[in-house]
């Protein structure tokens, strides 16, 4: 869809967030933040708990509106289209893969877990589903461990395997954007490193929003990093600058270096 933009292209931002404000009842979660996400980059989003990182992801795939009592102002544009004007919200969600902090194996077989989204999207042909399941499980580095027992329950896998299953499922509807919300919180360090390798590979195919509680993870993976604190975007810049000795904002320096948070 895009013109021949390379990785550093800034011609058409995939996501444009402008003056986004979110409130839960009368409690403000995001107080007007603006930034762009470029094609095929990994954007790291760091910040302490309760600073609005998860809320931001929920706005992007419009699952926030499933929670009652929330108000959203400002706009989020996906490929230049304001997402609040999109009628086919399910189609929008399919363009965005979402991985939540705690792995969720749906109470279905491993195969059915990955085939869930293609099936609800109308794909019925067994051969096509087989292909998707194998491709996604391979992309999520889980195929070799489960290829002989695809009919066992997804809920019976270990935590780390379930999180990779969740990633495989998020890839099953071929999203253009992959959002990960603190995916490593319930995963052992070895699995975390394997998933990080997966993300590093995926960056050539899609744009990745990586919300992380581990600042070092952002440092390892992200092209650019955003620092969010109490609903404000404190700073967004290349990862080198954010993690250097002189980012623009003192709070960024303090957080990145573990002085608070």
């Amino acid at each position: 869809m895009n013109t021949n933009g390379d990785n550093s292209s800034q011609i058409t931002p995939v996501i444009q967030v402008s003056d986004l404000k979110v409130r839960y009842g009368d409690k403000s979660a995001l107080n007007g933040i603006s930034f762009d996400v470029h094609k095929n980059e990994i954007l790291g989003i760091i910040g302490p708990a309760q600073s609005g990182k998860t809320t931001l992801l929920k706005v992007i795939n419009r699952t926030l509106e499933l929670t009652s009592g929330t108000t959203v102002e400002g706009s989020v544009k996906l490929d230049g289209v304001d997402i609040s004007t999109i009628n086919d919200v399910y189609g929008l969600r399919r363009r965005i893969g979402m991985v939540l902090p705690l792995p969720v194996g749906l109470p279905l077989s491993i195969y059915d877990n990955v085939a869930f989204a293609p099936r609800t999207g109308g794909i019925r042909a067994k051969s096509e589903l087989d292909e998707i399941v194998e491709r996604c499980l391979q992309q999520a580095a889980l195929w070799d461990e489960v290829k002989d027992r695809l009919d066992t329950l997804g809920t019976k896998l270990s935590g780390g395997q379930q999180q990779r299953l969740t990633i495989a499922r998020a890839l099953s509807h071929q999203p253009e954007i992959l959002c990960l919300d603190e995916f490593s919180i319930a995963v052992d360090p070895v699995t975390t490193m394997r998933i990080e390798d997966v993300l590093d590979t995926l960056r050539s195919e899609m744009t990745i929003l990586l919300v992380t509680n581990l600042v070092q993870q952002a440092k390892r993976l992200a092209n650019r990093t955003a620092f969010i604190l109490n609903g404000d975007l404190i700073e967004i810049d290349t990862t080198e600058v954010i993690f250097s000795d002189n980012p623009t904002n003192q709070a960024t320096y303090d957080y990145v270096n573990g002085n608070f948070g």
């Binding site: 795939n61 699952t63 499933l66 009652s68 009592g69 399910y90 189609g91 929008l92 969600r93 399919r94 979402m98 939540l100 705690l102 969720v104 194996g105 749906l106 109470p107 279905l108 869930f116 989204a117 609800t120 999207g121 329950l153 809920t155 969740t166 499922r169 998020a170 099953s172 509807h173």
Partner: protein
């Protein structure tokens, strides 16, 4: 070191007292629990003992005879089955779908809150009030007359709120994270409900519905004025002997009349009627337990 360790494990006054209270409470709770079982066993044992002379298959399959002083239970037994089946055919689908709406679709607003409040209050309405409502709404206003249909609808109104409540509980037991995962995959609410929520709550839903069988079978007040009749002879052994636009006999009302209204009833018959009523309900409950165990083995998390 050694003496320190010993001191660490020597019983102090506080830990002795804690242990003492623990034992007392355990025995107290055990006694209370046993007190629940004893009356049940006594009731069923006494009924069985008294009913034994009349109990037989023939007792179940013949009509009451001789002004209900002798004979069997066929007409009231079949009547109760009709009432229970028709009322659940009405209340189970409505109750389950209403609960799915309230739990899965309805937004948190004043309308939902009022509906939930109404459901809770409806569950607490005494059955005689349901009976009078049934007379007004179904027998008179809807023009159904005193009939199996009117009585069943009255029972359905009575069981509906409890079915809604138990279904809601079963739906709430399915973790929210499953739903969120499905929504994130672009599934609609209905796709989520059909593929994930219902398959994993069906055992709880069915249990709630089946438990209402015992209420529908046991209640006398709601059917007394709406469709149950003092005496009616029907074809013996024909399960289609009743027409739902006509009146029927029912075990609960039959037990009441032969115990209090009819003189000189053969001694075993009221006890036999009670045993059949209790037995039918226990049988259905047992079936629900078997079903629940079977469905739970398929539960997947």
């Amino acid at each position: 070191m050694n003496t320190d360790t010993q001191a660490m494990f020597t019983e102090t006054a506080i830990s002795r007292q804690k242990r003492h209270i623990e034992n007392v409470m355990r025995i107290f709770l055990l006694v209370i629990t046993s007190m629940m079982i004893i009356p049940l066993l006594l009731i069923i044992g006494y009924l069985l003992y008294k009913a034994l002379p009349v109990l037989s298959l023939e007792f179940l399959f013949t009509n009451p005879k001789d002004n209900m002083r002798a004979g069997g239970l066929w007409a009231p037994f079949l009547g109760t089955i009709y009432l229970v089946v028709v009322s659940l055919l009405v209340s189970a689908p409505i109750g389950v779908f209403a609960a799915v709406y309230l739990n899965e679709y309805a937004r948190e607003n004043w309308f939902t809150r009022i509906t939930n409040l109404a459901v809770v209050n409806l569950a607490g309405v005494p059955s005689i009030v349901h009976a009078l409502f049934g007379v007004g709404a179904f027998v008179l206003f809807a023009g159904l007359g005193e009939s199996i249909l009117a009585a069943s609808l009255t029972l359905a109104i009575m069981t509906l709120p409890v079915i809604i409540a138990s279904t809601t509980e079963a739906l709430k037991a399915v973790p929210m994270s499953f739903r969120e995962a499905c929504w994130n995959l672009g599934a609609t609410r209905w796709q989520t409900i059909r593929r994930i929520v219902l398959p994993n709550s069906i055992s709880g839903i069915l249990t709630g519905v089946i438990l209402q069988v015992s209420r529908a079978a046991g209640e006398t007040a709601p059917i007394m004025f709406t469709g149950a009749v003092f005496y009616k002879a029907i074809a013996e052994g024909d399960i289609f002997a009743y027409n739902i636009t006509e009146q029927c006999m029912a075990l609960s009302l039959h037990l009441f009349t032969i115990s209090t209204q009819v003189p000189d009833v053969t001694e075993g018959i009221p006890y036999g009627t009670a045993i059949v009523l209790v037995g039918t309900v226990l049988l259905v409950n047992a079936a629900s337990i078997v079903l629940r165990v079977y469905l739970r083995t398929r539960k997947k998390w």
